[in-house]
């Protein structure tokens, strides 16, 4: 009797934990991140502190921001276990020794996805900003 109660507790605990995990994954994958089909025009701003901001207007059929930036050869990066990681934008390499990295925002808002998971829509505006300090 005591043993069956214990296993019921274990079962419910495990079930609860994985139910929360699945729910969070469901929320993550069903967030508004749609892409429009066909030709799109998006604006990319490359912001480096202390330098003049550069703007790029891209016309693309790509679905993701990474595809659009790759088409224009605007970014270079590396695949990692955590997804694609941008290391260079418009020829400017983030200096690891200075803890520099490239941040992506959409209209000034933080984005919950990596560059290869951001689906783009017509008239989107993205900022690639060189940040210092992890």
């Amino acid at each position: 009797m005591k043993e069956s109660k214990y296993f019921l507790k274990v079962f419910l605990g495990t079930l609860g934990l994985f139910a929360v995990t699945v729910l969070l994954l469901f929320i993550f994958f069903n967030r508004n991140n749609s892409s429009s089909v066909g030709s799109k025009e998006i604006l990319i701003q490359v912001i480096i502190p202390g330098e003049e901001t550069e703007e790029f207007k891209l016309s693309t059929d790509a679905y993701t921001l990474r595809e659009a930036l790759d088409e224009e050869k605007l970014i270079k990066g590396q695949e990692s276990a955590y997804g694609f990681y941008i290391v260079e934008v418009n020829g400017r390499l983030a200096d690891d020794s200075k803890s520099e990295w490239w941040s992506i925002t959409k209209g000034g808002e933080y984005i919950e996805y990596g560059v290869d998971m951001i689906n783009i829509q017509d008239k989107d505006q993205y900022e690639l900003t060189l940040m210092e300090g992890y």
Partner: protein, 168 residues
């Protein structure tokens, strides 16, 4: 060996073990043995685990650099230790698997605290959401690792601790 020296040796060995398993498994995203080892050391060594955690955190900073993630390390492992202290008498691998899994799942949430002060709520929420898939991996891997390794590692560390206490 005097007790004081034994403690220093224990803290040194366990800190080295934590660093070794962290660096050794660092190529796998959010699959780690550190959570289980902190749970086990807390069960066996109690408050001495605080020394082990902070030596581990200091060396991690020296290896990878002292970034914002390092501030997270200053409290996340201590939170796990404090929770473990509450349930220190439990020996069920299933219990520790659930606790370790829950810790893995909430890791992103715990690590978002510094971002509240840097970029406010939007930055913290963005960080939490972008980390959900990695927290899910962390949860499942912590659960499986604790379930399979809790008993053998507990017996081994306990045996090592008892031998150290017995031998003069």
């Amino acid at each position: 060996m005097p007790m004081r020296t034994k403690n220093i040796v224990t803290v040194g060995i366990m800190s080295a073990l934590l660093i070794t398993v962290q660096v050794g498994l660092s190529f796998l995203p959010n699959i780690e043995l550190v959570s289980l080892l902190i749970i086990l050391t807390t069960i066996i060594y109690g408050w001495k685990t605080l020394y082990i955690i902070y030596i581990f955190v200091l060396v991690e900073g020296l290896i990878y650099g002292f970034g914002i993630w390092w501030i997270n390390y200053l409290y996340v492992w201590t939170i796990l230790m404090l929770i473990t202290m509450i349930f220190r008498n439990k020996r069920s691998p299933f219990f520790w698997a659930i606790l370790s899994g829950a810790f893995g799942l909430s890791f992103g949430l715990l690590c978002s605290i510094p971002y509240l002060f840097i970029g406010g709520v939007p930055m913290a929420v963005s960080g939490i959401i972008s980390g959900i898939p990695f927290d899910a991996i962390h949860c499942v891997s912590n659960y499986v690792i604790a379930l399979t390794l809790f008993k053998p590692l507990y017996h081994f560390l306990n045996w090592m601790n008892q031998n150290m206490q017995k031998n003069p």
